[in-house]
Symmetry: C2
Subunit: 293 residues, 2 copies
């Protein structure tokens, strides 16, 4: 595995690997580093599907809003390189902010509609920053496949929309959420939690599981009932401050009316949460498929 | 030469040409059709620089504003195919609107700053439509080079900015304005002009030449004097209705103050005009380089 920091060197290394190994397909795993087992599962999925695996590690300033945690976002390059190599990466791309944004950028990619709710409503401009940097990485790496975790389900929907609308020649591969044994979804931001917050944060995955079970057992049926059960479950935690609790169609992310029956129109439904514990904002979700899928 | 109408077929044909001819570089000439000698010069430039030449012909609805001439924009597919073949195209891509926009698109690429003046001010949203469709064509064709005429100098500046900001792996090749013998810059929209308008439209190229000469002979020196001379020259035509007359730095397109000396800070300067004759809006420009370049 090689670690490279410039665009020119990355392109040259990819070309080298392609020609020297006679390998053709490239898989990209875009990350912000501080890699955990969720990232490792993306890298392994990339290894399985592609000849050459590129992992990018870049804490992208333009997807953070004012007052968010860009400065304090956890970073550990040495550990990340070991984790990427262990999971099967061939190349790790670690650009500086100056490499990615050598001048104040004048170009933005904006996706409407799917960005208006959920994290898009709480974090204005966030998804423009995501789509802009992801398109840059796609142009730099020119991957055949790109791997994204379903923990950021809205991010997957937004990127799929961009790829479709702009005819990017890349297949987006969404990968399942990886959880701790007790159910907490893996996130680089989990390190921010103190022990009490860490313990109470379990309410996220528990509320999703409980609501999914209630829907499956037909104890509840509508989007409104699902939202109510999620909210009341989360409120069991004294530290939880709800940012949003939503039940939406996937991948359109259009709001389901309170009286709408969940899964009754044959489309997948996403239950998505963002909740703060102290200063730490965590997200989690559960994607429900119509029976038989 | 082959004409193709779908994205899948175009990608397959490019792959075929690449592998069967062992040719590697691809040049793209994006056009809106109704090809004239300006387009032919772009295709010939592409032929010279690239192994495979792709010409796209697509009247892109999202770069036309309400009340503009999308519906009436001149079209002549049969003549265009002959012209493209004559100039050396290998593939002509003629997508339908449904092929390019199968659903209402939610993704837009917006470039700020360089789009705010000149045609960007007169045609709000125009350049978002241009950058969005050009990025789609770049993703579909994946060219090494793309060729654009300098008649749309602002378009060249906007696309270069997008390519730089988003790390597109394509080299933009600007090509000189092609003119009729009497000086009128070639444009598909020239067919709209009646004989009297056609005759008076000469004032555009004449005013640019006259102002360039006056600057070179030091009869005038500042941006304000250049603007005044351009405006007074254009006003010799009774039919000319000025949309804008500007003197700007290139490629930043920042306005030069009236008292600024043209070319005195070592940067290229663009004199750019948009003028209506009847219902027909024409543009023309002249790029001045510092001495010695």
């Amino acid at each position: 595995m090689k670690a490279v920091r410039t665009i020119t060197e990355l392109r040259a290394q990819i070309e080298d690997l392609k020609s020297s190994l006679n390998k053709t397909t490239v898989g990209l795993v875009p990350t912000m580093g501080y890699l955990h087992q969720g990232h490792a599962s993306l890298i392994r999925a990339a290894k399985e599907k592609s000849d050459i695996v590129v992992v990018s590690i870049f804490v992208n300033p333009i997807q953070f809003g004012p007052g968010e945690d860009f400065e304090t976002y956890p970073r550990d390059e040495e550990r990340d390189l070991a984790a990427a190599e262990g999971a099967g990466a061939d190349l790790v791309f670690l650009p500086s902010v100056e490499t990615m944004y050598p001048k104040a950028a004048k170009t933005r990619i904006a996706v409407s509609d799917v960005t208006s709710g959920l994290c898009g409503a709480s974090r204005p401009g966030h998804f423009d920053g995501v789509t802009t940097v992801v398109s840059k990485l796609f142009h730099i790496v020119q991957p055949n496949y790109a791997f994204f975790g379903m923990k950021d389900a809205q991010q997957v929907a937004v990127i799929e929309q961009m790829v479709f609308d702009l005819n990017f020649n890349v297949e987006i591969v969404p990968c399942p959420i990886i959880r701790e044994e007790d159910g907490l979804a893996l996130s680089s931001r989990n390190v921010y939690l103190n022990p009490e917050e860490r313990s109470q944060a379990l309410v996220l995955s528990q509320s999703l599981r409980k609501t999914q079970a209630a829907l499956e057992k037909r104890e509840i049926r509508t989007a409104g009932e699902a939202r109510d059960l999620l909210v009341s479950s989360i409120r069991q935690s004294s530290l939880a401050v709800i940012d949003y609790v939503e039940v939406v169609a996937f991948p359109e992310l259009s709001l389901l009316e309170d009286e709408a029956g969940v899964l009754e129109n044959g489309e997948p439904v996403l239950m998505a949460l963002a909740v703060k514990f102290g200063k730490t904002r965590l997200i989690d979700n559960c994607l429900l498929y119509p029976k038989g899928e």
